[in-house]
Symmetry: C2
Subunit: 203 residues, 2 copies
């Protein structure tokens, strides 16, 4: 069967397996066997590492969020000017398609957060970090004179992240006309208005 692994390795495997199982069955609908199956193990083995399935699911969501956020940070870091940063950041917050695993995992939590305090905190924290991310780009651009902000950067940043979130849901729900490109354009239309910058691709 499956090879033996060290404690740490196996836990990483299981978090990954749980992530896939959640995408298949939903956070509420996942069962121990789903996770075991995804990991290529038996339910007993999963329980050996995570006696409480709930904790594993939380870790899976947590890991998924961190991955999502870190990916965005990395992509921004590769950009030079604030204009490019802003455009790239908008894109990196949207799913690449209806099946994008990163965004789909986040969307799973929308409902659960209203019932589960832990999930609520995770989601809220992610939102706030993304807002700070945008705010930093906006403030830098304003300081350099490339952006002329209409309103304060906090308000704009909050709205930008909100738009991303919402269009993420629309895209994963397969809206017939709003795909990644259209969503990006909708968000950028807002960004253009409030930054006074045409936000053309540079380079």
């Amino acid at each position: 069967m499956s090879a033996r692994k060290s404690r740490a390795d196996r836990r990483v495997d299981l978090i990954e397996a749980a992530r896939r199982a959640i995408l298949r069955h939903g956070t509420q609908g996942v069962h121990l066997n789903h996770v075991a199956e995804e990991a290529g193990l038996t339910s007993g083995a999963v329980l050996y590492h995570y006696p409480d399935l709930g904790e594993l699911l939380v870790e899976a969501h947590h890991a998924g969020m961190e991955r999502f956020y870190e990916l965005r940070v990395k992509r921004i870091a590769q950009c030079g000017d604030p204009v490019q940063k802003l455009v790239v950041t908008v894109r990196s917050g949207l799913p690449v398609g209806p099946d994008d695993p990163g965004v789909r995992l986040l969307n799973e939590l929308g409902g659960a957060a209203a019932r589960n305090r832990v999930y609520a905190v995770l989601l809220t924290t992610l939102y706030d970090r993304q807002v700070a991310m945008y705010q930093s780009i906006l403030d830098t651009g304003a300081a350099l004179g490339v952006f002329t902000l209409i309103g304060d950067s906090l308000t704009i940043a909050r709205n930008l992240v909100a738009l991303e979130d919402a269009y993420g849901y629309r895209i994963t729900a397969r809206h017939p006309v709003i795909g990644p490109d259209e969503a990006a354009e909708l968000i950028l239309s807002y960004a253009r208005t409030v930054t006074g910058n045409p936000l053309e691709a540079t380079g």
Copy 2:
């Protein structure tokens, strides 16, 4: 125990009970007994009216959506000028608090829509209808000269609904600083910018 009821009455009861059960346990997590308990019946009785729990859940979500939408339409109808209409509409799209049942029910579907075609269609349709609602208000205001739209009304309407959706999630997840008032102000800040109207409360 519970009095006997006619077929039609009981189905309404069950849809209502299912709605409550969904709020308690999530769309994935609801079980037949949860619904039966909410309805004050046994699982057998529920099954008599709805042999397939899945169908009952769909009807519950559908009914909840219609109620939510119709309430908004009614509130708009009571407003006179487009400015008041816009302000009232923004408010009516947001939860009144973290426990607002209408919005919480909608939020439940976010994750499920990625896996379930029926839920995806329901959500997408609701989104489009809300967009049309806003678009009508914006176009009327523009025609009357009270709004000077920056960009086309479809783009603005899509973004307004998107913002509502996203802040609905934040509020139900109990964001520590973004409550109904703050969310309304964030959305209105966008609306002010793109309509060129201060959107002060009239009357």
